[in-house]
Symmetry: C2
Subunit: 331 residues, 2 copies
DNA sequence: GATAGTTTTGGGAACGTTCCCAAAACTATG
DNA sequence: CATAGTTTTGGGAACGTTCCCAAAACTATC
């Protein structure tokens, strides 16, 4: 109370109306000079707001954490958090015990205002609990339950586009290296693949569908399993796997795209220097992170808000790994 | 106060001594039943402890955030946080304005008990400020100032080992693709390279030293710049760059290791499926993360503690990208 | 210049803990 | 069974804010 009073200062800090401009000036000057900063603990005690958002990566998703996907998602999330003066807390689990120990802490919900959960797992167990405890949250990855707000990329449409691209280039035996069977994005991308084949009257051959786990190494192995079945083109559900697949082909002295064409999903930077550069489906990961935060904050500010269900489009990026229509026609 | 009193409950919660076993039982039973959980805000208001650790990634380092290094570091950090009942908050900056806006918030230090800073940048500006404000912190990445606690990997020795390995295999013109000139790890690895050459009486040729920025794409470009100078072997300061370099060689139809040998640094998973599999220097990144937290907590618990300066060893992992001694001898 | 109305300010209570000290309840001893 | 000593318990104060309401200070009107 260097200048005048106490609760007036509070008003100035939170710039509430009804304080004389002159006083306002004086107080904010002193605030600036002393470098005063309101104590967040005391604030949150009375407000019931912490200014913290939690990012939860469940155990089943955690193995994907090393995927290039996560850093980009986190960049988006932190950028939006910074813009809106929120802090991000990160929850990763490394074992079942950790998960069961920390879930109550998360559900009790005194630590943060809202949660972003990367719930790309089929039958995620945390989502229903969050719902039951009325913890405000948004899922990165779509969710069946109509109560759940989510943001996702249009995986089905992206995969569909990829496969149609291959079909239009004239390939017949089109295979796919899918992601983990329990991963929702993987399921969706597989669905897009199936839809495209069905719509164009192509047969579906189970031998041409193999699974990886989104890692480069798994893409390598998957492609080796695929080779005996003589695919002409492969839709690979992630660029990391596509790079691995490319290496398997190189190892087997199989020319891309002349002998086998490849299309990926993600558009991560190394795709541009793959040999050949990788045609792929670009997904706006950072944008997903940014919007996740913004939608969550909307929900926090307006309790009555209906659940938001947002799906962002993807984009076909054509490079060299599928060959061109012209070349194919000539062939 | 379902059972008895108030401050007794407090004692039970924090299991302080001097409470009758019988009462203890009764209270904890009720606590368990009601699912009571102490309010962190109120707690931290009186304790001046938040149970939160901040991980700060300064702007100059942020471009490296997409490197596979970070997810692994974060896994280590979160694992240790979970073990010790701490929460991790993440601070990434995306512009100068953000940085200057958030630094005061961080320095004010009401938000967390301590900070882990990834200060691998030469002349980082945050470190002196943290010191001046007496914020407890630990740097991931060594630091000159003897007041600073840090944990780092022995980059100099790792690089030294790598180059000695090349020398022992009989290579003469040994080049290096270094990291960003302002990055401390990059500087150290370059130093290790120089030391090894000097110790073995090899000439130092500036044409054989090029820089990348740790990304795969930059490794690709760096190798292209290197090719005209006819290196026999290259020490690449990160596996990501090494994979890029490998691709440049493949592009130029240069056999590895027969025409040019390559050794990386990191041992990230794709190194195993590179063609040829990459010989590299393994660094214990996750361990760094775990220890960063543990050392920080030590410091928090004992104010008088001397600054800790920890350097972890690296390990040479031999695969095929350098050829073998036997082959070299035959050659 | 008194009155009513409006704007601005100040003080008490509350948020949910922990800490400290005093009170109460036990226990052992003569 | 009184006393001293020890263990256990309870209540007040404090942590640093915000919110609410009442008091004070202005402003306009007659």
């Amino acid at each position: 109370m260097a200048g005048v009073s106490r609760s007036t200062v509070s008003r100035v800090i939170n710039n509430q109306p009804g304080v004389k401009p002159e006083v306002q000036q004086r107080v904010s000057k002193i605030v600036a000079e002393t470098g005063y900063y309101p104590n967040p603990a005391a604030r949150s005690l009375v407000n019931h707001q912490t200014g913290i958002i939690g990012l939860v990566v469940p155990l089943q998703v955690q193995s994907l954490f090393v995927d290039p996907y996560f850093p980009r998602l986190i960049q988006g999330i932190t950028q939006a958090c910074n813009n809106h003066d929120y802090t991000l807390s990160l929850f990763l689990f490394h074992s079942d015990e950790e998960e069961s120990k920390l879930y109550p802490k998360i559900l009790r919900n005194q630590l943060f205002d809202g949660i972003i959960i990367t719930a790309t797992q089929v039958n995620d167990i945390l989502v229903p609990q969050l719902l039951a405890n009325k913890v405000p949250f948004i899922s990165v990855g779509r969710h069946e339950n109509s109560q759940v707000s989510f943001i996702d990329v249009d995986n089905v449409a992206g995969a569909y586009t990829a496969v149609i691209h291959l079909i239009r280039l004239g390939y017949q035996r089109i295979a796919t290296i899918a992601g983990p069977a329990k991963n929702l994005s993987a399921v969706d991308r597989l669905q897009g693949y199936l839809n495209a084949l069905r719509d164009r009257g192509y047969p579906i051959d189970n031998e041409l569908i193999v699974n990886g786990d989104f890692t480069e190494v798994s893409g390598y192995e998957a492609m080796q399993r695929l080779l005996p079945h003589k695919p002409e083109a492969v839709f690979v559900a992630s660029d990391a796997m596509a790079v691995g697949a490319l290496r398997a082909l190189q190892n087997g002295n199989i020319a891309v795209p002349n002998q086998i064409a490849l299309i990926g999903f993600d558009d991560f930077p190394p795709a541009t220097i793959a040999i050949p550069p990788l045609t792929t489906i670009r997904q706006p990961i950072k944008q997903v992170g940014i919007m996740a935060v913004e939608v969550l904050l909307d929900i926090l500010n307006d309790e009555t808000k209906q659940p938001q269900r947002i799906i962002l489009p993807t984009e076909l990026v054509i490079r060299d790994s599928c060959g061109s229509t012209i070349e194919r026609r000539r062939y």
